[in-house]
Protein backbone atom coordinates (compact mmCIF):
# COMPACT_ATOMS: atom_id res chain seq x y z
CA UNK A 1 0.00 0.00 0.00
CA UNK A 2 2.87 2.34 0.78
CA UNK A 3 4.32 1.40 -2.57
CA UNK A 4 1.03 2.29 -4.24
CA UNK A 5 0.94 5.64 -2.46
CA UNK A 6 4.54 6.38 -3.43
CA UNK A 7 3.85 5.40 -7.03
CA UNK A 8 0.75 7.62 -7.26
CA UNK A 9 2.61 10.55 -5.74
CA UNK A 10 5.56 10.12 -8.08
CA UNK A 11 3.26 9.93 -11.09
CA UNK A 12 1.46 13.09 -10.00
CA UNK A 13 4.65 15.09 -9.51
CA UNK A 14 6.15 13.99 -12.81
CA UNK A 15 5.79 16.39 -15.71
CA UNK A 16 2.31 16.13 -17.18
CA UNK A 17 1.10 14.39 -14.04
CA UNK A 18 -1.37 17.12 -13.31
CA UNK A 19 0.16 18.36 -10.10
CA UNK A 20 -0.07 22.13 -10.02
CA UNK A 21 -2.80 22.16 -12.63
CA UNK A 22 -5.49 22.25 -9.97
CA UNK A 23 -3.60 25.01 -8.16
CA UNK A 24 -3.34 27.08 -11.32
CA UNK A 25 -7.04 26.56 -11.97
CA UNK A 26 -7.85 27.66 -8.42
CA UNK A 27 -5.76 30.80 -8.89
CA UNK A 28 -7.41 31.68 -12.19
CA UNK A 29 -10.93 31.19 -10.85
CA UNK A 30 -10.19 33.46 -7.89
CA UNK A 31 -8.63 36.09 -10.16
CA UNK A 32 -11.62 36.00 -12.48
CA UNK A 33 -14.13 36.59 -9.69
CA UNK A 34 -13.42 40.32 -9.20
CA UNK A 35 -13.67 40.78 -12.96
CA UNK A 36 -17.13 39.27 -12.94
CA UNK A 37 -18.59 40.90 -9.81
CA UNK A 38 -16.66 44.16 -9.67
CA UNK A 39 -13.68 45.36 -7.63
CA UNK A 40 -15.58 46.63 -4.60
CA UNK A 41 -13.66 45.52 -1.49
CA UNK A 42 -16.63 45.08 0.83
CA UNK A 43 -18.48 42.92 -1.69
CA UNK A 44 -15.40 40.80 -2.30
CA UNK A 45 -14.86 40.39 1.43
CA UNK A 46 -18.43 39.21 1.84
CA UNK A 47 -18.24 36.57 -0.88
CA UNK A 48 -14.60 35.57 -0.34
CA UNK A 49 -15.25 32.46 1.82
CA UNK A 50 -17.81 31.09 -0.61
CA UNK A 51 -15.72 31.84 -3.67
CA UNK A 52 -12.63 30.22 -2.17
CA UNK A 53 -14.61 27.12 -1.22
CA UNK A 54 -16.25 26.86 -4.62
CA UNK A 55 -12.93 27.41 -6.36
CA UNK A 56 -11.25 24.70 -4.30
CA UNK A 57 -14.15 22.33 -4.98
CA UNK A 58 -14.02 22.90 -8.73
CA UNK A 59 -10.25 22.55 -8.78
CA UNK A 60 -10.65 19.26 -6.94
CA UNK A 61 -13.27 18.12 -9.44
CA UNK A 62 -11.01 18.97 -12.35
CA UNK A 63 -8.40 16.39 -11.45
CA UNK A 64 -10.84 13.58 -10.64
CA UNK A 65 -11.14 12.05 -14.08
CA UNK A 66 -7.42 11.27 -14.13
CA UNK A 67 -7.69 9.60 -10.73
CA UNK A 68 -8.55 6.18 -12.14
CA UNK A 69 -8.71 6.71 -15.91
CA UNK A 70 -4.95 6.45 -16.47
CA UNK A 71 -4.73 3.29 -14.38
CA UNK A 72 -7.69 1.89 -16.28
CA UNK A 73 -6.04 2.49 -19.63
CA UNK A 74 -2.72 0.84 -18.80
CA UNK A 75 -4.31 -2.07 -16.96
CA UNK A 76 -3.08 -1.19 -13.47
CA UNK A 77 -6.65 -1.17 -12.26
CA UNK A 78 -7.24 -4.79 -13.28
CA UNK A 79 -4.11 -5.70 -11.33
CA UNK A 80 -5.37 -3.80 -8.30
CA UNK A 81 -8.72 -5.60 -8.40
CA UNK A 82 -6.92 -8.93 -8.42
CA UNK A 83 -4.21 -7.88 -5.97
CA UNK A 84 -3.93 -9.45 -2.51
CA UNK A 85 -4.60 -6.11 -0.81
CA UNK A 86 -8.31 -5.25 -0.46
CA UNK A 87 -9.61 -2.98 -3.20
CA UNK A 88 -11.22 -0.77 -0.57
CA UNK A 89 -7.77 -0.13 0.89
CA UNK A 90 -6.22 0.49 -2.51
CA UNK A 91 -8.92 3.03 -3.34
CA UNK A 92 -8.48 4.73 0.03
CA UNK A 93 -4.79 5.06 -0.77
CA UNK A 94 -5.59 6.48 -4.19
CA UNK A 95 -7.96 8.98 -2.58
CA UNK A 96 -5.24 9.88 -0.09
CA UNK A 97 -2.77 10.41 -2.93
CA UNK A 98 -5.33 12.61 -4.69
CA UNK A 99 -5.81 14.62 -1.52
CA UNK A 100 -2.05 15.01 -0.94
CA UNK A 101 -1.47 16.23 -4.49
CA UNK A 102 -4.65 18.30 -4.93
CA UNK A 103 -6.48 18.94 -1.67
CA UNK A 104 -3.54 19.82 0.52
CA UNK A 105 -1.98 22.32 -1.94
CA UNK A 106 -5.40 23.95 -2.27
CA UNK A 107 -5.66 24.27 1.50
CA UNK A 108 -2.25 25.92 1.64
CA UNK A 109 -2.99 28.23 -1.27
CA UNK A 110 -6.41 29.34 -0.09
CA UNK A 111 -5.21 31.86 2.56
CA UNK A 112 -2.89 33.48 0.00
CA UNK A 113 -5.74 33.83 -2.44
CA UNK A 114 -7.89 35.07 0.44
CA UNK A 115 -5.69 38.16 0.51
CA UNK A 116 -6.61 38.85 -3.12
CA UNK A 117 -10.29 38.72 -2.22
CA UNK A 118 -9.97 40.92 0.85
CA UNK A 119 -10.95 38.13 3.22
CA UNK A 120 -11.47 39.53 6.74
CA UNK A 121 -8.61 38.76 9.09
CA UNK A 122 -10.74 36.63 11.39
CA UNK A 123 -11.60 34.37 8.47
CA UNK A 124 -8.15 33.04 7.60
CA UNK A 125 -7.94 30.53 10.40
CA UNK A 126 -11.50 29.27 9.89
CA UNK A 127 -11.06 29.06 6.13
CA UNK A 128 -7.92 26.96 6.44
CA UNK A 129 -9.46 24.79 9.12
CA UNK A 130 -12.65 24.22 7.14
CA UNK A 131 -10.74 23.35 3.96
CA UNK A 132 -8.44 21.08 5.91
CA UNK A 133 -11.44 19.30 7.38
CA UNK A 134 -13.51 19.25 4.20
CA UNK A 135 -11.20 18.52 1.27
CA UNK A 136 -10.58 14.87 2.26
CA UNK A 137 -14.31 14.28 1.83
CA UNK A 138 -14.08 15.83 -1.65
CA UNK A 139 -11.32 13.40 -2.59
CA UNK A 140 -13.09 10.34 -1.22
CA UNK A 141 -16.45 11.19 -2.80
CA UNK A 142 -14.62 12.03 -6.00
CA UNK A 143 -13.02 8.60 -5.99
CA UNK A 144 -16.50 7.10 -5.90
CA UNK A 145 -17.50 9.20 -8.91
CA UNK A 146 -14.33 8.23 -10.74
CA UNK A 147 -14.99 4.56 -10.00
CA UNK A 148 -18.55 4.90 -11.34
CA UNK A 149 -17.45 6.40 -14.63
CA UNK A 150 -14.18 4.55 -15.14
CA UNK A 151 -15.15 2.47 -18.15
CA UNK A 152 -17.14 5.18 -19.88
CA UNK A 153 -15.75 6.99 -22.87
CA UNK A 154 -15.75 10.75 -22.41
CA UNK A 155 -16.92 10.29 -18.85
CA UNK A 156 -15.56 13.64 -17.66
CA UNK A 157 -18.77 15.62 -17.95
CA UNK A 158 -20.82 12.76 -16.57
CA UNK A 159 -18.41 12.58 -13.64
CA UNK A 160 -19.10 16.22 -12.81
CA UNK A 161 -22.84 15.71 -13.07
CA UNK A 162 -22.67 12.74 -10.70
CA UNK A 163 -20.22 14.14 -8.19
CA UNK A 164 -21.41 17.73 -7.79
CA UNK A 165 -24.73 16.87 -6.12
CA UNK A 166 -22.81 14.61 -3.75
CA UNK A 167 -20.58 17.57 -2.86
CA UNK A 168 -23.53 19.67 -1.66
CA UNK A 169 -23.41 18.83 2.07
CA UNK A 170 -19.63 19.24 2.24
CA UNK A 171 -19.78 22.56 0.43
CA UNK A 172 -22.60 23.87 2.60
CA UNK A 173 -20.92 23.10 5.91
CA UNK A 174 -17.46 24.05 4.66
CA UNK A 175 -18.44 27.41 3.24
CA UNK A 176 -20.70 28.06 6.23
CA UNK A 177 -17.79 27.52 8.59
CA UNK A 178 -15.58 29.90 6.62
CA UNK A 179 -18.35 32.50 6.27
CA UNK A 180 -19.28 32.48 9.92
CA UNK A 181 -15.62 32.61 10.87
CA UNK A 182 -15.03 35.59 8.57
CA UNK A 183 -18.02 37.40 10.06
CA UNK A 184 -16.69 36.80 13.54
CA UNK A 185 -19.52 34.47 14.45
CA UNK A 186 -19.34 31.19 16.26
CA UNK A 187 -18.33 28.57 13.68
CA UNK A 188 -17.58 25.39 15.59
CA UNK A 189 -20.98 23.78 14.89
CA UNK A 190 -20.65 23.69 11.09
CA UNK A 191 -16.99 22.74 11.49
CA UNK A 192 -18.01 19.79 13.65
CA UNK A 193 -20.66 18.76 11.11
CA UNK A 194 -18.11 19.08 8.31
CA UNK A 195 -15.62 16.94 10.18
CA UNK A 196 -18.37 14.41 10.81
CA UNK A 197 -19.17 14.21 7.10
CA UNK A 198 -15.51 13.83 6.26
CA UNK A 199 -14.94 11.06 8.79
CA UNK A 200 -18.08 9.21 7.71
CA UNK A 201 -17.25 9.44 4.00
CA UNK A 202 -13.62 8.45 4.57
CA UNK A 203 -14.82 5.42 6.51
CA UNK A 204 -17.68 4.33 4.24
CA UNK A 205 -17.22 5.62 0.70
CA UNK A 206 -14.25 3.33 -0.17
CA UNK A 207 -16.63 0.37 0.17
CA UNK A 208 -19.07 1.90 -2.31
CA UNK A 209 -16.19 2.87 -4.63
CA UNK A 210 -14.72 -0.62 -4.55
CA UNK A 211 -18.14 -2.16 -5.16
CA UNK A 212 -18.85 -0.07 -8.26
CA UNK A 213 -15.31 -0.55 -9.54
CA UNK A 214 -15.70 -4.34 -9.34
CA UNK A 215 -19.06 -4.07 -11.13
CA UNK A 216 -17.70 -1.76 -13.78
CA UNK A 217 -14.63 -3.85 -14.57
CA UNK A 218 -16.43 -7.18 -14.63
CA UNK B 1 -65.18 29.19 -15.85
CA UNK B 2 -64.57 30.20 -12.25
CA UNK B 3 -63.71 33.75 -11.35
CA UNK B 4 -59.93 33.76 -10.91
CA UNK B 5 -59.56 37.43 -10.12
CA UNK B 6 -56.19 39.05 -10.47
CA UNK B 7 -54.36 35.72 -10.31
CA UNK B 8 -55.89 34.32 -13.51
CA UNK B 9 -52.61 34.37 -15.40
CA UNK B 10 -50.74 32.51 -12.68
CA UNK B 11 -53.34 29.82 -12.13
CA UNK B 12 -54.01 29.22 -15.80
CA UNK B 13 -50.34 29.13 -16.73
CA UNK B 14 -49.58 26.71 -13.89
CA UNK B 15 -52.31 24.37 -15.12
CA UNK B 16 -51.30 24.78 -18.75
CA UNK B 17 -47.60 24.15 -18.17
CA UNK B 18 -48.21 21.15 -15.93
CA UNK B 19 -50.72 19.52 -18.23
CA UNK B 20 -48.51 20.09 -21.26
CA UNK B 21 -45.54 18.51 -19.50
CA UNK B 22 -47.62 15.56 -18.31
CA UNK B 23 -49.11 15.06 -21.75
CA UNK B 24 -45.64 15.20 -23.26
CA UNK B 25 -44.42 12.54 -20.85
CA UNK B 26 -47.36 10.27 -21.63
CA UNK B 27 -47.00 10.74 -25.39
CA UNK B 28 -43.24 10.07 -25.31
CA UNK B 29 -43.84 7.00 -23.18
CA UNK B 30 -46.47 5.64 -25.57
CA UNK B 31 -44.35 6.34 -28.63
CA UNK B 32 -41.34 4.63 -27.14
CA UNK B 33 -43.54 1.72 -26.11
CA UNK B 34 -44.86 1.30 -29.65
CA UNK B 35 -41.34 1.49 -31.05
CA UNK B 36 -40.22 -1.20 -28.59
CA UNK B 37 -43.10 -3.49 -29.59
CA UNK B 38 -42.21 -3.03 -33.25
CA UNK B 39 -38.51 -3.67 -32.56
CA UNK B 40 -39.32 -6.84 -30.65
CA UNK B 41 -41.65 -8.07 -33.38
CA UNK B 42 -38.99 -7.37 -35.98
CA UNK B 43 -36.31 -9.11 -33.95
CA UNK B 44 -38.56 -12.13 -33.44
CA UNK B 45 -39.35 -12.32 -37.14
CA UNK B 46 -35.71 -11.98 -38.14
CA UNK B 47 -34.40 -14.52 -35.72
CA UNK B 48 -37.19 -17.04 -36.24
CA UNK B 49 -35.66 -20.45 -36.67
CA UNK B 50 -32.16 -19.34 -35.77
CA UNK B 51 -32.86 -19.06 -32.06
CA UNK B 52 -34.89 -21.26 -29.77
CA UNK B 53 -38.14 -19.74 -28.71
CA UNK B 54 -37.59 -17.50 -25.73
Amino acid sequence: MTALLARDLRLAFRAGGGFGLALAFFLIVVVLVPFSVGPESSLLAAIAPGVLWLGALLACLLSLDRLLALDFEDGTLDLLVGAPIPLEGALSVKALAHWLTTGLPLVLAAPVLGVLLNLPLAGFGWLTASLLAGTPALSVIGTFGAALTVGIKRGGLLLSLLVLPLYVPTLIFGAETARRGAMGMEATTPLAMLTGITLATVALMPFASAAVLRMGLR
Amino acid sequence: MPELGKYAVEVLSAYAVSLVILAGLVLLTLRRGRAARAALARAEAETKGTVDAV
Binding site: P190, V212 | P2, A39, L40, T47, V51
Partner: protein, 244 residues
Protein backbone atom coordinates in the same frame (compact mmCIF):
# COMPACT_ATOMS: atom_id res chain seq x y z
CA UNK C 1 -47.24 -18.48 -5.00
CA UNK C 2 -45.14 -15.59 -3.91
CA UNK C 3 -44.78 -12.06 -5.15
CA UNK C 4 -41.40 -12.98 -6.60
CA UNK C 5 -42.98 -14.93 -9.43
CA UNK C 6 -43.61 -11.56 -11.04
CA UNK C 7 -39.87 -11.10 -11.23
CA UNK C 8 -40.19 -13.36 -14.24
CA UNK C 9 -40.44 -10.88 -17.15
CA UNK C 10 -43.02 -12.97 -19.00
CA UNK C 11 -45.29 -13.22 -15.98
CA UNK C 12 -44.73 -9.56 -15.20
CA UNK C 13 -45.69 -8.55 -18.71
CA UNK C 14 -48.79 -10.74 -18.63
CA UNK C 15 -49.97 -9.30 -15.33
CA UNK C 16 -49.09 -5.73 -16.15
CA UNK C 17 -50.87 -5.95 -19.50
CA UNK C 18 -53.93 -7.28 -17.72
CA UNK C 19 -54.10 -4.64 -14.98
CA UNK C 20 -52.91 -1.64 -16.98
CA UNK C 21 -56.26 -0.70 -18.56
CA UNK C 22 -57.82 -0.54 -15.10
CA UNK C 23 -54.98 1.52 -13.64
CA UNK C 24 -54.82 3.90 -16.59
CA UNK C 25 -58.59 4.47 -16.45
CA UNK C 26 -58.54 5.03 -12.71
CA UNK C 27 -55.52 7.35 -13.00
CA UNK C 28 -57.03 9.53 -15.71
CA UNK C 29 -60.34 9.58 -13.89
CA UNK C 30 -58.83 10.58 -10.54
CA UNK C 31 -56.54 13.22 -12.02
CA UNK C 32 -59.40 14.67 -14.04
CA UNK C 33 -61.84 14.66 -11.15
CA UNK C 34 -59.30 16.04 -8.70
CA UNK C 35 -58.15 18.83 -11.00
CA UNK C 36 -61.61 19.75 -12.32
CA UNK C 37 -63.09 19.66 -8.83
CA UNK C 38 -60.27 21.76 -7.53
CA UNK C 39 -60.31 24.16 -10.44
CA UNK C 40 -64.03 24.73 -10.81
CA UNK C 41 -65.70 23.81 -7.57
CA UNK C 42 -63.54 25.12 -4.74
CA UNK C 43 -63.67 28.62 -3.28
CA UNK C 44 -60.72 30.99 -3.29
CA UNK C 45 -58.57 31.15 -0.20
CA UNK C 46 -59.02 34.27 1.89
CA UNK C 47 -55.31 35.09 1.83
CA UNK C 48 -54.08 33.47 -1.37
CA UNK C 49 -57.04 34.19 -3.62
CA UNK C 50 -57.29 31.98 -6.68
CA UNK C 51 -53.66 30.88 -6.51
CA UNK C 52 -54.71 28.27 -3.98
CA UNK C 53 -55.92 26.25 -6.98
CA UNK C 54 -52.29 25.55 -7.91
CA UNK C 55 -52.07 23.32 -4.88
CA UNK C 56 -53.93 20.52 -6.71
CA UNK C 57 -50.97 20.25 -9.08
CA UNK C 58 -48.12 21.25 -6.85
CA UNK C 59 -48.59 19.00 -3.84
CA UNK C 60 -49.36 15.75 -5.73
CA UNK C 61 -46.42 16.33 -8.08
CA UNK C 62 -44.07 17.01 -5.16
CA UNK C 63 -45.37 13.94 -3.36
CA UNK C 64 -44.74 11.73 -6.36
CA UNK C 65 -41.34 13.30 -7.02
CA UNK C 66 -40.13 12.02 -3.66
CA UNK C 67 -42.01 8.73 -3.83
CA UNK C 68 -40.59 8.00 -7.27
CA UNK C 69 -37.06 8.26 -5.88
CA UNK C 70 -38.08 6.08 -2.96
CA UNK C 71 -39.50 3.50 -5.32
CA UNK C 72 -36.25 3.58 -7.32
CA UNK C 73 -34.34 3.03 -4.09
CA UNK C 74 -36.41 -0.05 -3.22
CA UNK C 75 -36.15 -1.38 -6.78
CA UNK C 76 -32.37 -0.83 -6.76
CA UNK C 77 -32.07 -2.74 -3.49
CA UNK C 78 -34.11 -5.63 -4.89
CA UNK C 79 -31.88 -5.69 -7.96
CA UNK C 80 -28.68 -5.68 -5.91
CA UNK C 81 -29.89 -8.37 -3.52
CA UNK C 82 -32.01 -10.66 -5.67
CA UNK C 83 -30.86 -9.81 -9.22
CA UNK C 84 -34.34 -9.53 -10.71
CA UNK C 85 -34.06 -7.76 -14.06
CA UNK C 86 -37.62 -6.46 -13.91
CA UNK C 87 -36.71 -4.58 -10.75
CA UNK C 88 -33.73 -2.83 -12.31
CA UNK C 89 -35.76 -1.95 -15.38
CA UNK C 90 -38.59 -0.60 -13.23
CA UNK C 91 -36.12 1.73 -11.52
CA UNK C 92 -34.89 2.87 -14.91
CA UNK C 93 -38.46 3.37 -16.09
CA UNK C 94 -39.42 5.41 -13.02
CA UNK C 95 -36.59 7.97 -13.21
CA UNK C 96 -37.92 10.12 -16.09
CA UNK C 97 -41.36 10.14 -14.49
CA UNK C 98 -39.74 11.36 -11.28
CA UNK C 99 -37.93 14.10 -13.18
CA UNK C 100 -41.17 15.31 -14.71
CA UNK C 101 -42.90 15.33 -11.33
CA UNK C 102 -40.02 17.28 -9.79
CA UNK C 103 -40.14 19.72 -12.67
CA UNK C 104 -43.89 20.25 -12.30
CA UNK C 105 -43.49 20.78 -8.57
CA UNK C 106 -40.72 23.33 -9.13
CA UNK C 107 -42.53 25.20 -11.93
CA UNK C 108 -45.91 25.38 -10.23
CA UNK C 109 -44.15 26.39 -7.03
CA UNK C 110 -42.39 29.22 -8.83
CA UNK C 111 -45.62 30.38 -10.45
CA UNK C 112 -47.32 30.34 -7.06
CA UNK C 113 -44.39 32.02 -5.36
CA UNK C 114 -44.33 34.99 -7.73
CA UNK C 115 -47.61 36.59 -6.55
CA UNK C 116 -47.50 35.17 -3.00
CA UNK C 117 -43.90 35.76 -1.93
CA UNK C 118 -43.13 38.34 -4.60
CA UNK C 119 -40.40 36.17 -6.10
CA UNK C 120 -40.11 33.17 -8.38
CA UNK C 121 -37.50 31.55 -6.26
CA UNK C 122 -36.10 31.74 -2.76
CA UNK C 123 -33.33 29.55 -1.38
CA UNK C 124 -35.67 28.12 1.15
CA UNK C 125 -34.70 24.66 2.48
CA UNK C 126 -37.69 22.95 0.89
CA UNK C 127 -37.15 24.49 -2.53
CA UNK C 128 -33.42 23.95 -2.45
CA UNK C 129 -33.84 20.30 -1.52
CA UNK C 130 -36.08 19.78 -4.50
CA UNK C 131 -33.58 21.37 -6.80
CA UNK C 132 -30.92 19.02 -5.45
CA UNK C 133 -33.29 16.09 -5.94
CA UNK C 134 -33.69 17.21 -9.54
CA UNK C 135 -29.90 17.12 -10.00
CA UNK C 136 -29.75 13.62 -8.54
CA UNK C 137 -32.38 12.46 -11.03
CA UNK C 138 -30.40 13.94 -13.90
CA UNK C 139 -27.18 12.22 -12.83
CA UNK C 140 -28.99 8.91 -12.39
CA UNK C 141 -30.52 9.05 -15.86
CA UNK C 142 -27.26 10.20 -17.44
CA UNK C 143 -25.44 7.21 -15.91
CA UNK C 144 -28.06 4.81 -17.31
CA UNK C 145 -27.58 6.32 -20.74
CA UNK C 146 -23.78 6.27 -20.58
CA UNK C 147 -23.09 2.65 -19.63
CA UNK C 148 -23.41 0.27 -22.54
CA UNK C 149 -23.72 -3.13 -20.88
CA UNK C 150 -27.26 -3.25 -19.43
CA UNK C 151 -26.41 -5.34 -16.36
CA UNK C 152 -23.43 -3.17 -15.48
CA UNK C 153 -25.60 -0.10 -15.95
CA UNK C 154 -28.18 -1.58 -13.58
CA UNK C 155 -25.46 -2.32 -11.01
CA UNK C 156 -23.85 1.11 -11.18
CA UNK C 157 -27.09 3.07 -11.15
CA UNK C 158 -28.37 1.00 -8.23
CA UNK C 159 -25.34 1.87 -6.12
CA UNK C 160 -25.60 5.49 -7.23
CA UNK C 161 -29.23 5.47 -6.12
CA UNK C 162 -28.29 4.11 -2.69
CA UNK C 163 -25.39 6.51 -2.18
CA UNK C 164 -27.43 9.34 -3.66
CA UNK C 165 -30.26 8.68 -1.21
CA UNK C 166 -27.90 9.01 1.74
CA UNK C 167 -26.48 12.23 0.35
CA UNK C 168 -29.93 13.56 -0.54
CA UNK C 169 -31.02 13.15 3.08
CA UNK C 170 -27.74 14.66 4.24
CA UNK C 171 -28.26 17.60 1.88
CA UNK C 172 -31.77 18.10 3.23
CA UNK C 173 -30.42 18.63 6.74
CA UNK C 174 -27.40 20.59 5.54
CA UNK C 175 -29.68 22.92 3.60
CA UNK C 176 -31.91 23.47 6.61
CA UNK C 177 -28.88 24.37 8.67
CA UNK C 178 -27.43 26.58 5.96
CA UNK C 179 -30.55 28.58 5.37
CA UNK C 180 -31.20 29.24 9.03
CA UNK C 181 -27.61 30.35 9.25
CA UNK C 182 -28.04 32.67 6.33
CA UNK C 183 -31.39 34.25 7.06
CA UNK C 184 -31.59 34.31 10.79
CA UNK C 185 -34.88 35.76 11.92
CA UNK C 186 -36.51 36.04 8.53
CA UNK C 187 -39.27 33.52 7.98
CA UNK C 188 -40.36 32.39 4.57
CA UNK C 189 -43.96 31.28 4.73
CA UNK C 190 -43.43 28.03 2.90
CA UNK C 191 -45.05 25.20 4.76
CA UNK C 192 -48.02 27.27 5.83
CA UNK C 193 -49.38 27.90 2.35
CA UNK C 194 -52.58 25.96 2.82
CA UNK C 195 -50.90 22.83 4.12
CA UNK C 196 -53.16 22.54 7.08
CA UNK C 197 -55.98 22.85 4.65
CA UNK C 198 -59.69 23.09 5.22
CA UNK C 199 -61.94 20.27 4.02
CA UNK C 200 -63.10 22.18 0.93
CA UNK C 201 -59.57 22.16 -0.39
CA UNK C 202 -58.57 18.86 1.15
CA UNK C 203 -60.93 16.40 -0.60
CA UNK C 204 -60.13 17.38 -4.19
CA UNK C 205 -56.46 17.46 -3.17
CA UNK C 206 -56.65 13.87 -1.94
CA UNK C 207 -58.35 12.78 -5.16
CA UNK C 208 -55.66 14.50 -7.17
CA UNK C 209 -52.91 12.91 -5.04
CA UNK C 210 -54.40 9.46 -5.58
CA UNK C 211 -54.68 10.25 -9.28
CA UNK C 212 -51.03 11.28 -9.57
CA UNK C 213 -50.03 8.13 -7.69
CA UNK C 214 -52.03 5.94 -10.06
CA UNK C 215 -50.69 7.83 -13.05
CA UNK C 216 -47.15 7.19 -11.81
CA UNK C 217 -47.95 3.51 -11.36
CA UNK C 218 -49.47 3.24 -14.83
CA UNK C 219 -46.55 5.04 -16.46
CA UNK C 220 -43.97 2.92 -14.64
CA UNK C 221 -45.74 -0.34 -15.54
CA UNK C 222 -45.97 0.68 -19.16
CA UNK C 223 -42.38 1.93 -19.35
CA UNK C 224 -41.08 -1.19 -17.61
CA UNK C 225 -42.83 -3.26 -20.26
CA UNK C 226 -41.16 -1.13 -22.91
CA UNK C 227 -37.74 -1.69 -21.37
CA UNK C 228 -38.33 -5.45 -21.12
CA UNK C 229 -39.31 -5.62 -24.80
CA UNK C 230 -36.30 -3.57 -25.89
CA UNK C 231 -33.99 -5.75 -23.82
CA UNK C 232 -35.48 -8.93 -25.23
CA UNK C 233 -35.25 -7.65 -28.79
CA UNK C 234 -31.57 -6.84 -28.42
CA UNK C 235 -30.94 -10.16 -26.69
CA UNK C 236 -32.61 -12.03 -29.55
CA UNK C 237 -30.57 -10.19 -32.13
CA UNK C 238 -27.37 -10.69 -30.19
CA UNK C 239 -27.96 -14.41 -29.85
CA UNK C 240 -28.86 -14.79 -33.53
CA UNK C 241 -25.72 -12.89 -34.42
CA UNK C 242 -23.62 -15.23 -32.33
CA UNK C 243 -25.13 -18.41 -33.75
CA UNK C 244 -25.10 -17.54 -37.42
Amino acid sequence: MSIWQYANPVKFLALSTRVQPVIWTAAVLCVAVGLLWGFFATPDDARQGATVKIIYLHVPAALMAINAWFMMLVASLIWLIRRHHVSALAAKAAAPVGVVMTLIALITGAIWGQPMWGTWWVWDPRLTSFLILFLFYLGYIALWEAVEDPDTAADLTSVLCLVGSVFAVLSRYAVKFWNQGLHQGTSVPVATGGRSVADVFFYPLVVSMVGFGLLFLALVLYRTGTEIRLRRASALLARAGRES
